[in-house]
């Protein structure tokens, strides 16, 4: 558990971080909460030449409502966002996703931006971000780019962030009175790593779910949206129809793994997609999340 040698500097703010990243070249990496990067460095799978520590960047630590959106600074701790009253009120799906993201000590340290930028396909926030049509704000020394979730998550551990760029903010749409959310993951056992994650949002209008956004992790090399299932939800399909739509979505994947684990994950995902749609169809009763 001893990393290979690396350089290190503390950034005072986002602009300073970008400046250091520019200076240190392509193998420099930002260090956020370190909950994924540091273990990988410890077993020397990750060998960044230089770490830019973002933990002093107060300008990246915020959760605020802005019109119909929620803007989340990339250095916001996962636990802070999970417990944030404004996030709970304006986008309840975030807390649903975060409460099972590792243990509380990991969420105390781990950040929103760190998890999203790491691009691990089974990270809870990534599938949630896809099902919310979140927008990532990525800055470099000259501009700030808005990248939609579906374009941002390129592949397993690969995102649209270029060298010398920094993810600074995540923007998610705030809820309306009609918003419905469902989030479910399944692993081998309650305390185990997720094998499949399904995250969904929709607007309930006149007894039907409109603009459904359903994302699944565990059946492809990245978390993916399910357009056929989304269409089937809009068309009020029964479970059999949903299953058929899910299998159609699997056909359109860029790359499908084979073997027993992949077969199990697909079977599990199908069950969970059906159950998640059922969950969204039931109007929330009693206390809202």
């Amino acid at each position: 558990m001893k990393p290979a040698p690396f350089g290190y500097a503390v950034a005072e703010n986002a602009a300073h971080a970008i400046e250091i990243l520019n200076r240190e070249g392509d193998d420099a990496r930002p260090l956020a909460g370190g909950q994924s990067l540091v273990p990988m460095m410890n077993i020397r799978i990750a060998r960044p030449s230089f770490l830019v520590d973002l933990n002093k960047c107060r300008d990246l630590d915020y959760v605020k409502e802005d019109g119909g959106s929620l803007r989340i600074g990339a250095m916001t701790r996962q636990r802070t966002l999970e417990l944030s009253p404004v996030a709970r009120e304006r986008c309840p799906l975030i807390a649903l996703a975060l409460r099972g993201a590792g243990s509380a000590p990991i969420r105390n340290r781990g950040t929103i931006g760190g998890s999203i930028a790491n691009g691990y396909p089974l990270a809870d926030l990534i599938t949630a971000a896809l099902s919310l049509d979140a927008v990532m704000i990525v800055r470099n020394s000259t501009e700030a780019k808005e990248i939609a979730a579906d374009a941002f998550f390129v592949d397993s551990m690969v995102t649209a962030i270029e060298p010398s760029e920094l993810l600074t903010e995540i923007v998610v749409p705030a809820r309306t009175v009609d918003s419905r959310y469902a989030y479910r993951k399944s692993g081998n056992h309650a305390g185990g790593a997720a094998i499949v994650i399904v995250s969904a949002s929709a607007e309930a209008r006149e007894d039907r779910l409109t603009v459904p956004r359903i994302a699944v992790a565990g059946v492809a090399s990245r978390s993916i949206r399910l357009p056929n299932v989304e269409a089937a939800v809009s068309e009020l399909c029964d479970p059999a129809g949903l299953r058929e739509a899910f299998r159609a979505d699997l056909q359109t994947r860029a790359y499908a793994e084979t073997g027993a684990h992949a077969a199990y994950a697909e079977e599990l995902a199908e069950e969970i997609v059906v159950s998640v749609v059922e969950m969204m169809r039931v109007p929330p009763s009693g206390e809202r999340q």
Partner: protein
């Protein structure tokens, strides 16, 4: 403080009371002293080992020049550097059926598993030591490798050791008289095959050791996170050719052992040798990745069994063929026969079995060596036996509890089919109490309710645990490096406080608490005045180690006996002071007190001042100074503990996920010293059994590449995977006077109990459960196959 002050209120402990752990205050404040907390100064050489990336390869060249060129690198050792300094490890002794192999502490010309040690890098800091291992240049000729026992036993399999042409390190067989005829004549027979995967012990603190040599005194001190300091002491003397009296082995606080830390490892011998060669302190701390590559693993068994029984479900005969994967090397001190012999030895268990025949083979493969892990072979041997009893029940339409009721041993003393004596026991009352505790009839009723679509299963198993083995039993098993006894020195200091030095290591289970309680009970000193020193060969007597559920049986009894001897002398001194016969004296709450004379007493501190002549009172004529006793305790055989487990599970047929809905354990460990610590042993043991059945799995590719090298791949249970566990204890009348072990029964019971509960749940889906682990994925796959092969659509 004036300890002789008669107004000072103190309270001593009684054996049998639950007690807060005396260790916890310090540990919970982060004030523990684990191996990595040991600071040996700026001259310390930190070690990293270069491990083989190949499962089977000829080592052509190791070029250490580039590593030595790194500033801060002190030395790099390969096999050539240690020739003549550290002898190869030979774990077995010649015995019938056993082929003796050796393990070089650093691989000479051949690497036999991914993790075999090629070189030892020493540097001024541990980061540089790892950098040095990366800079070493190696050239290999990669050979075909074999990872599975079944493949390794085939005639054309790659050889792991040149000298062993069939890869079979150990083979044994045995049969009771006329077995073949009796077995053939059994009214009914069932045949089954069981496969159990490989698991790892995964103590929260990986291994580590350090050594420092004092050239002026000629003394070598070795610190190791080991379960067996005395065995390590012996091994260092033997392999470094040193005098026993020039060595001290010290155990620091230990963050869990579970078996993998019971072995003597090449790293310990190399670190000790390096400290003498380099004349520097040398320290090695293992990381989790290295732990998964090199710390001994366990299980990896396959069984072909056939059981004979009557129409009434009474056992007639058992035939077993056992295949065990021992990995690349025989492990010290347990050797190659350990798991294979343990398998058959644990099969008869709590049941009347008169006819037994078995054949067992231990096969080497290009995988990490296997060794002790909680329960050793018993969890899987019991999984076989309990699995067969449930199959008998299903065939005869008998409740599993009834099958057991008809076969449990009820008359004691009993000698089992292998000759093991059970001098007392209460297997049937244990089972009945557990059925009651779990509300078994209600669990069966709930099983019928499937409104949530889940499949429910219930099991009841009864297991035995061969605990407290002494010298005779270990020698009988051919384990000549395991002494079997434990030693304790108990001393009342001149101020009336107590010190005890106990040979076994404390590995986190709270043994200091129980030893404190014994001393406090016998000598009347309050718990806060007792200091326990464990596993330090420089301070206390030697012994064996913290293995095989022997701590309280052997070391506890050593402390008890030594305390008794000190109490005798204290009674004589107190009797002289109080003018009463010594037999009327007893000790409680800091005082020697007199039966039927509540006003007569003298403090332990005052007795001590007399014994050490540190006050005005002169010691009586004929009495010698001092208040201490050393006792070496041994047991003639083993104490057979037992337990019943009742488990209810719900299996989600859509996901394959298993949920534990009820878990009840009733155990018989005889007389309990600290009942809350006994509960702790059950909790932890069951958790490890649950992990073994549902998730933990060491996976190797067919060609010997390890695929479980982090806690991402090797999943372990968390608290959320449990529901509440109900525990009760019972014992026979004779058992109330006997201390039996309890360290492994939780795991031994949990493996068969959870497997059988899942088997019960899945029987409705025509799934035959005969393999572990039962991951959600494995359960779904078995259900799919069963559905595909089931011709009858009317099956529920």
């Amino acid at each position: 403080m004036d300890r002789a002050n008669p107004d000072r209120f103190v309270s001593s402990q009684r054996i049998g009371d639950s007690l807060e752990r005396v260790e916890d205050d310090r540990l919970l404040r982060g004030e523990g002293g684990f191996i990595d907390d040991l600071e040996l100064g700026s001259r310390t050489a930190h070690v990293a080992f270069l491990r083989s990336p190949h499962a089977n390869a000829i080592v052509r060249a190791i070029e250490k020049g580039p590593a030595l060129a790194i500033p801060g690198v002190i030395a790099v050792w390969t096999a050539r550097d240690v020739a003549g300094i550290v002898k190869p490890m030979v774990s077995d002794t010649e015995q019938p059926g056993l082929k003796v192999t050796k393990r070089e502490v650093l691989a000479t010309d051949r690497a036999r598993f991914v993790g075999d040690t090629l070189a030892m890098a020493m540097a001024s800091d541990p980061y540089l030591a790892v950098d040095a291992t990366e800079a070493i240049e190696t050239t290999f000729e990669v050979l075909p490798a074999v990872a599975r026992a079944l493949e390794a036993a085939k005639p054309d399999a790659p050889r792991v050791h040149e000298s062993i042409d069939d890869n079979v390190l150990y083979e044994t067989s045995s049969a009771t008289p006329d077995f073949t005829g009796i077995h053939a004549a059994a009214p009914l027979r069932i045949k089954e095959r069981f496969v159990m995967h490989r698991v790892a012990g995964v103590p929260i603190e990986p291994r580590g050791c350090a050594a420092s040599f004092d050239p002026k005194k000629g003394v070598l001190t070795v610190w190791s996170s080991t379960q067996c300091p005395s065995i390590l002491h012996n091994a260092i003397a033997e392999h470094l050719e040193l005098r026993q009296s020039d060595i001290r082995v010290v155990t620091p606080d230990i963050g869990g052992g579970f078996g993998p830390k019971a072995a003597v490892y090449p790293e310990e011998l190399l670190v000790a040798a390096a400290s003498m060669r380099l004349r520097r302190p040398v320290k090695w701390i293992q990381d989790r990745y290295d732990d998964f590559l090199t710390s001994t693993q366990a299980r990896d068994h396959a069984y072909e069994v056939e059981i004979g029984f009557t129409q009434e479900g009474r056992l007639v005969s058992l035939l077993a063929d056992i295949l065990v994967n021992v990995g690349a090397y025989s492990t010290m001190p347990f050797g190659a026969s350990f798991e294979a012999n343990g398998a058959s030895r644990n099969m008869p268990g709590a049941y009347r079995l008169s006819n037994f025949a078995f054949h067992a083979r231990a096969v080497c493969t290009n995988t990490c060596p296997t060794g002790a892990y909680r329960g050793v072979s018993a969890p899987v041997a019991c999984m076989v036996m309990e699995g067969m009893l449930d199959r008998i029940g299903r065939l005869l339409n008998l409740d599993p509890a009834e099958v057991r009721r008809r076969n449990l041993v009820t008359d004691f003393p009993y000698k089992n089919v292998l000759g093991l004596p059970y001098r007392e026991g209460c297997f049937l009352p244990t089972m009945d109490r557990c059925l009651e505790l779990a509300d078994y009839p209600e669990l069966r009723r709930r099983q019928a309710d499937a409104r949530d679509g889940k499949l429910r299963g219930v099991s009841v198993v009864v297991i035995t645990e061969q605990t407290g083995m002494g010298a005779a039993r270990f020698k009988q098993r051919g384990l000549f490096r395991i002494p079997g006894y434990e030693g304790a020195l108990v001393k009342i200091e001149p101020d009336g406080t107590a010190t005890a030095c106990v040979s076994m290591a404390a590995i986190g289970q709270g043994s200091a608490t129980s030893f404190t309680q014994i001393i406090s009970d016998k000598l009347g000193v309050p718990a806060e005045d007792v200091r326990i020193v464990t596993g330090d060969t420089g301070r206390g007597p030697t012994g064996t180690g913290t293995i095989a559920s022997r701590g309280m049986v052997v070391a506890g009894n050593a402390v008890l006996a030594a305390s008794g001897k000190v109490a005798e002398k204290m009674s004589r001194i107190a009797g002289a002071i109080l003018d009463r016969p010594p037999e009327d004296i007893f000790f409680a709450d800091g005082y020697a007190q007199v039966k039927n004379a509540p006003n007569l007493h003298v403090s332990v501190a005052r007795i001590a001042s007399v014994a050490y002549s540190s006050g005005e009172t002169i010691l009586a004529a004929g009495e010698s100074h001092g208040l201490e006793s050393v006792v070496y305790y041994d047991t003639p055989s083993a104490e057979v503990a037992s337990a019943a487990h009742v488990v209810a599970v719900a299996v989600d047929p859509r996901t394959g996920c298993v949920e534990i809905e009820k878990y009840a354990v009733v155990h018989d460990c005889g007389r309990m010293i600290t009942p809350n610590l006994v509960d702790g042993q059950i909790h932890g043991g069951v958790a490890q059994g649950l992990g073994e059945v549902l998730m933990e799995e060491i996976v190797y590719s067919d060609d010997g590449q390890p695929l479980s090298v982090s806690l991402m791949e090797y999943q372990m249970p968390r608290c959320v995977d449990f529901s509440a566990m109900e525990i009760d204890a019972v014992h026979s009348e004779m058992g109330s006077k006997i201390i039996k072990g309890v360290g492994e029964g939780g795991t031994i019971g949990a493996v068969p109990a959870i497997v059988n509960a899942i088997g019960d749940a899945l029987a409705k889906a025509n799934v035959n459960v005969n393999e572990i682990p039962l991951s959600a994925q494995a359960i779904r796959s078995m259900m799919r196959h069963a559905a595909a092969s089931s011709a009858s659509p009317s099956n529920p």
